[in-house]
Structure formats: C-alpha cells, structure tokens
Amino acid sequence: MAMEKQQAQSPVEAERTRNRRVFVPPVDIFEAKDTTVLIADMPGVCEKSVNITLEKDVLTITGTVEPEQHEGYSCVYSEYDVGDYQRAFSISDDVDKDKIKATVKNGVLRLTLPKAEPAKARKIPVRAE
C-alpha cells in the first residue's frame, strides 16, 4: 500500500468508547536467531500512551494520540489525520511470553519476542547401537 495511513476496518469487536479515528500502524516483523522482532510506526505515541496486551495468544498493540490543536490557527492543507492506533497479531506458542520486551523511541515501537526454550533448535544425538 501507499504512504497513506490505513484506517482500521473493524478495530475491535466491541465498540470503542473514544470517538476517535483508529489507524493500523505499518509494521516490520523479522525473525532473528532467538527472537522475533516487531517494529511499528506509531508517530505521536510515547511509552505512556502505548499499551500492549497478550491474551490467549493474541498480542494487541494500542496507542492513544491526542489530536493536534493549535489555538487561533486554521488548518489550510491536510495530508494526514491524527488518531489512535490498534493492531493485533496472533502469536504462536513458541514465544516466551514472560520475556516480551517493548520500547518506544521517536514514535516507533519495538517489540522483542524471545523464542521459548523448547522451540530453539535442538540437536538430537544419534547413537550407534
């Protein structure tokens, strides 16, 4: 898709109490040796306004952003809207759920999902009989 922000089709099953637009943050997900890393662009959020929940293998990222308001100014040109962020991923069992780490810097969320011990490649010795 192009640069524009994508609006969420159906953010959650339940209706939200905040009457705010909700966007789907673009993400990069890559797998390294022992971890899976998720990076999401969420301009406007800080570590206090981002929320990560893990429930029944569903990892949900939400971020709240206060709308921009400039007293005495009127908007003459607009290419983007400000709103909250939400996106959910289903996580497989081989993630060590207790060791998930999250950081936010310059509006970018970085989630590190370490692989659980049994999921790591294990060499099975073959014995000669």
Partner: protein
C-alpha cells in the same frame, strides 16, 4: 508544488498503479485534502502572522532531519534508516518505509527564516514559521476630514 524523490516502500508491485490513481484523484477532486503519497505527510495550519507545519516522521532522531527555508518554500529532507542488515534474519512483513526523502512545500506567505522554530516529539515534527515582516499586510488608516 510538492514532490519527493527516491522514496521506497518495502516491496510493492502496485505502487505505480496507486500513484497513477492518486494523480487521477487529484485531477478530479479539486479539494485541498490530499492523500499523502509522499513522505512525510504534512499538515499546514495558519493564522495571520505565522504558519505551523506538522509532519509525521517516525523513527528519526531530531538531528537526522534537515529543514531549510527559502522565501516561501520549506524543504524537509533526510534518510529513514533501512532494515538492519544482519545475517540469519528472515522478514515476515516489511510495511514501513525507508530510504532517502526530500519534500518541498510552498507556504502561503514569505517566512522570516531566522525565526523558524522546530520541535520534534515522539516522531512528530512541528515547525512554526513566522510571516516575514515585509510580507505582512499593511493596515491603512482612514482619516476623517
């Protein structure tokens, strides 16, 4: 009025079609509301005396963004860091943009370049551009005879 150069998205075979579609929308819509095809997307706010330009540039630190003002044009440029190239790394999704960007925007009036103020917070850049003194409208007093 607005342009961008060499800005790549992950891998998108429909980019050209999207671009064409947007250009068509632009031609026929005739409204000031654009969908951002260029990075970074910007909003412009004005009062009589100054303008505020806000833009979303996540993932850059303040010193990585170049802002320059000449007359009534504002140029934003920089490089969004690409994927960290490491071995044994497999990508499942690549949706975030990366690469060089440069954008020039024409403002509604000439700007006092010395007094431009820029703040960067949580991936959002906010630039305040005061209107140049010589460009401000002159108030003409009407004298009663």
């Amino acid at each position: 009025m607005l342009w961008t150069e060499e800005y790549r998205r992950g891998s998108d075979p429909f980019r050209e079609i999207q671009h064409l579609r947007r250009e068509m929308d632009r031609l026929f819509s005739g409204v000031t509301r654009f969908r951002a095809s260029d990075f970074p997307p910007i909003n412009i706010w004005t009062s009589g005396d100054d303008a505020i330009v806000t833009t979303e540039v996540p993932g850059l630190s303040p010193e990585e963004i170049n802002i320059s003002v000449v007359g009534d044009t504002l140029t934003l440029s920089g490089v969004r860091p690409g994927q960290e190239q490491e071995e044994d790394k497999t990508y499942h999704r690549r949706e975030r943009g990366y690469g060089k960007f440069s954008r020039t925007v024409q403002l509604p009036f000439k700007v006092e370049a010395e007094k431009v103020d820029a703040k960067y917070n949580d991936g959002v850049l906010r630039i305040t551009l005061p209107r140049a003194e010589e460009d401000k409208p002159k108030k003409i007093l009407i004298k009663a005879e």
